[in-house]
């Protein structure tokens, strides 16, 4: 009934991943960087769905559920860290958190 080439699906996933990567490179606001990581994780999961649709197996969707779980755990810990940084430094600038000078 539908004839979507697999390249189109992978291309959309790649473009979304690239947009997230650009955003995580150019932003200095730490919340925007967290949002960009979410975009990239979503794009990676989309590639899994496309591959699972190609082979008509459920494994791609299972992998997406694992990625979803990891994204949820990551965003909760990341937001707690952001709140802590904001209370300590009174700013969301990532460059302000360089006291250890690693």
């Amino acid at each position: 009934m539908n004839s979507i080439p697999i390249e189109a699906g992978l291309l959309v996933a790649g473009i979304l991943f690239m947009l997230g990567l650009i955003s995580v490179l150019i932003r200095r606001n730490i919340i925007f960087m967290l949002i960009s990581v979410e975009i990239m994780l979503n794009a990676a999961g989309m590639a899994f769905i496309v591959a699972g649709s190609k082979w008509m197996q459920a494994d791609g969707q299972v992998m997406f559920i694992f990625i979803l779980t990891m994204a949820a755990a990551e965003v909760s810990v990341g937001l707690a860290l952001i709140l802590q940084i904001y209370h300590q430094l009174k700013t969301l600038d990532t460059d302000a958190a360089n006291e250890m000078n690693g």
Partner: protein, 175 residues
């Protein structure tokens, strides 16, 4: 069905471009919701209705709402928007954008030069996903449970405010 895929893909890419170019954080998050909904439509067309529902519920529902709550707690005002406008200059974004676009062009070339494989569009329903999830992947499900548990404990530990305790003798000494 193909047309819906291409329209949803265009909406997803445009909404994501809007997300990464906004100065106001709340506007960016609203565009992010649109992007996630468009991706959910793509999943539905590709034959994964269960994952499309999960995308709407967990990504557009839970994660974005969590970020919005934190932004409301931080109580950001117009200064943060101005600050963001000052940070995001052309000099900053031009280099990473050009280099990433070169990599993207290479990916498009590689995908375009391979033989075209057409997706059949057979639906993999939630029953098959559940059978796989609790059959061969059951150890992964248990690890996910451990991950979520450690996420809860970590978020509680990091988010706790330390009480400022000033000893009463020290308080007296300062007076």
């Amino acid at each position: 069905m193909e047309v819906t895929f291409y329209i949803a893909a265009a909406v997803a890419i445009l909404a994501t471009i809007m997300v990464i170019t906004r100065y106001n954080m709340v506007h960016a998050l609203l565009y992010l919701v649109v992007s996630f909904l468009a991706v959910a439509v793509i999943f539905f067309v590709l034959g994964a209705p269960f994952i499309a529902a999960l995308e709407v519920i967990v990504y557009a529902g839970a994660i974005v709402v969590l970020i919005i709550f934190v932004i409301m707690m931080l109580n950001l005002k117009q200064e943060s928007v101005d600050q963001e406008e000052k940070w995001l200059t052309k000099k900053v974004w031009l280099g990473p954008a050009i280099l990433s676009s070169i990599l993207m062009t290479e990916l498009i070339y590689i995908l375009g030069s391979s033989d075209v494989t057409v997706l059949q569009g057979h639906e993999v329903d939630s029953k098959a996903v559940g059978m796989a999830l609790y059959g061969p992947y059951v150890i992964g499900v248990e690890l996910c449970g451990l991950l979520l548990m450690s996420g809860i404990v970590g978020a509680y530990h990091l988010g706790r405010q330390k009480k400022k305790v000033i000893h009463r003798f020290l308080e007296k000494a300062e007076e």
